[in-house]
Symmetry: C2
Subunit: 405 residues, 2 copies
């Protein structure tokens, strides 16, 4: 029921575009060849995928995950850690030996994400002196296993700190040499107690490896703002404009107006983007205010039912809903902002080429039983098909392998 090779032609027939028009989408060589809104269409020999009149949207982009921490596919495990971030770091390490292999759990979660309509993920992966590169190698396997089904970008992430865990910097650099896409970091002040020390180390590695940086910044108040501003200054100095992300940046959600203006301006000036999971119990950075000042804001599910969080199911429409709900978005126009954070904005930050529902772009898309993109976000209705490179990879919320079964 779906093309078996990328040379075949497929038609996703009987769908509706965001503006409401009925359409058939012709796909060839993994790309969108035609978006036909006329009632008839010549597609002799093309494989027909029935769209059931659903809304079609470009594939969702999950810009911040931790696939290696997943418990997907396992029975429920009550959250075992204490209330602090350090407790979660240490508790997780103590559990590792008792869990199934990382690649199995990570692939389970990745498939679950695909089933909801996600076609690209940026996942952080824990690298520390205990596990060394084992989690990273597991995610490299998952990336290979899901090639053609999911674009997987890997961030080499020092979950135990950089200076706090001697040996980590060499491991991060090794991962980047072996194929990690982006360099990670973590709260230089709270975790390493050395803002300049961690940032110096990270930017040294980033320059040597010619890679971008995506750094977790949970630190609140003045510490967080100092971290972001120092990050922006180094981004400029090292010529990394447009390649650096702040993940979370909760301090932006509680900053005084003048501090917010100054910091948002610094981010916009050097193209430092912000990844958010919607804030949960922390202050949420103001999405629209950041976008208006030129900061790219994109969304990710972050921890999905894992050793860090009991919540989440991998659905980026649900994440867009949470982001919208916390942002006070109500109109369809605002809900579409949340959807953009969960799709096109992430695609821009991840550098996905040929993203979007236009002729000549990659045929990465999904259908959802909604009238408008706003309804898709607010109500997260059932999904029809998920198509990656012109091939069906999920149906009715269930992962199907790339041969369409």
């Amino acid at each position: 029921m779906t093309p078996r090779s990328s040379q075949e032609t497929g038609v996703l027939a009987n769908v509706r575009l965001a503006g409401g028009a009925a359409a058939d989408i012709v796909m060839r060589d993994s790309l969108i060849a035609e978006i036909a809104t006329a009632p008839t269409l010549e597609t002799d020999g093309a494989t027909r995928i029935e769209g059931e009149g659903m809304l079609v949207l470009p594939g969702l982009v999950d810009g911040h995950m931790h696939l290696d921490k997943a418990l997907a596919g396992l029975p429920w495990m009550p959250h075992p850690a204490g209330p602090t971030r350090l407790s979660r770091i240490e508790t997780e390490k103590s559990l590792r030996g008792d869990l199934p292999p990382v690649q199995e759990r990570a692939a389970n979660l990745a498939r679950q994400c695909v089933a909801h309509g996600t076609t690209a993920i940026r996942s952080h992966v824990d690298i520390d002196p205990d596990n060394e590169l084992t989690h990273f190698h597991a995610l490299m396997e998952v990336r290979e296993m899901l090639a053609g089904i999911l674009d997987l970008q890997i961030v080499a992430f020092p979950q135990s700190g950089v200076l706090r865990a001697p040996g980590t910097s060499g491991l991060l650099e090794a991962a980047l040499t072996e194929g990690a896409d982006v360099l990670g970091g973590l709260d230089p002040i709270a975790i390493d107690n050395d803002l300049d020390g961690q940032l110096d180390t990270l930017f040294d590695i980033a320059e040597r490896c010619d890679t971008g940086i995506d750094i977790h910044l949970h630190d609140a108040g003045a510490d967080g703002l100092a971290e972001i501003n120092a990050l922006c200054e180094r981004t400029r100095a090292c010529g990394l404009a447009g390649r650096v992300t702040v993940s979370h940046g909760f301090c932006l959600g509680s900053a005084a107006p003048d501090e917010f203006e100054r910091t948002a301006e610094a981010m916009a000036a050097v193209g430092v983007s912000l990844a958010t999971h919607g804030g949960a119990a922390s202050p949420l950075p103001p999405v629209k205010a950041l976008r208006e000042r030129g900061v790219e804001v994109f969304a990710g599910n972050d921890n999905v039912r894992d050793t860090w969080s009991p919540f989440g199911n991998g659905d980026m429409l649900e994440r867009a809903m949470l982001l919208a709900w916390r942002s006070g978005f109500r109109t369809d126009e605002d809900l579409e902002v949340a959807l953009e954070c969960a799709s096109a904005a992430g695609a821009r930050v991840l550098g996905l080429e040929g993203y979007g529902l236009s002729v000549g772009n990659r045929a990465d898309l999904f259908t959802v039983d909604a009238e408008t993109p706003g309804e898709a976000v607010a109500q997260r209705p059932r999904r029809g098909v998920v198509v990656k490179g012109g091939r069906v990879v999920a149906r009715e919320g269930e992962f199907a392998d790339a041969s369409g079964t």
Copy 2:
């Protein structure tokens, strides 16, 4: 498949209790007659309801809804109002004439709630000089229509204000005389610009009608705290201890520590409870801190896909998840706090007699495909059956009428 009269005996067989034990639940005369954890059970002639090994929980209690505003069952309608509360009030009024009858929309949403496991709802209903008692009468019809399926408590709610909309106070009193259960109110400072004026009017009516009060307080900062403290003082003076609720109380989520202590203490002293929908874009009152100080906190879905909000589906497990997510709850113990807000705490405030999963209590319960109550909250898995007074009222997430079809 389900008892046709309340005299029949039914067995909800093959379920698991919150502690993990397998059980059969025998139901007779609308009540729980036995909770049998032994492997065999004599129930000759009893109607068997298969529990599929799922977790059984007491019926969910939705402590704050607006059934009369619902768009349930209608095609998607993008949110039409401007960004202010007053715009939502006025926009809603302008739309009323174009919508299907209130009782139809309200019943649709109520059935949707039941399908998710809710067995009791407190719904506010708009009363103002324009619609007079028409919405109230519609909800009285819905209550009658769903008798035996759902406990529906009605709050006579002055959505357009009390003093701001002359004639409202008489209408509120008329509704209470005709069968409304609770008197509502709304932001005395922001809406009526007269704290004492609105509260004097409300407490006069409450004393005359011998009813409790549930007042919407969105006002932030000092205004909100002044409103709550004035409410507590009048609650004491009028002998209404234990019968007054603050809905939302966002000001408690951003109060300075000493103001919070003083206000929480005032609430606890006169049994003023707090209803919350999880805060959305507003500061969330600290659930555990309030409970520790003796304030009863309960949850409600508030606006569910209506003229006020595009979000929500009526599922109180999803509401408990949102409350937990925003509260930073992660452990099963904390997730159970959120579940209690969505069940037993609401039952206490609504005064539901015989609530809870114990012999002699009402057979109001539902099954969910979860290992623990914590998983039920965090993951909101599929529902099996919903049982009200011993009879199946929903199966597999779909409403079934009281005869079990």
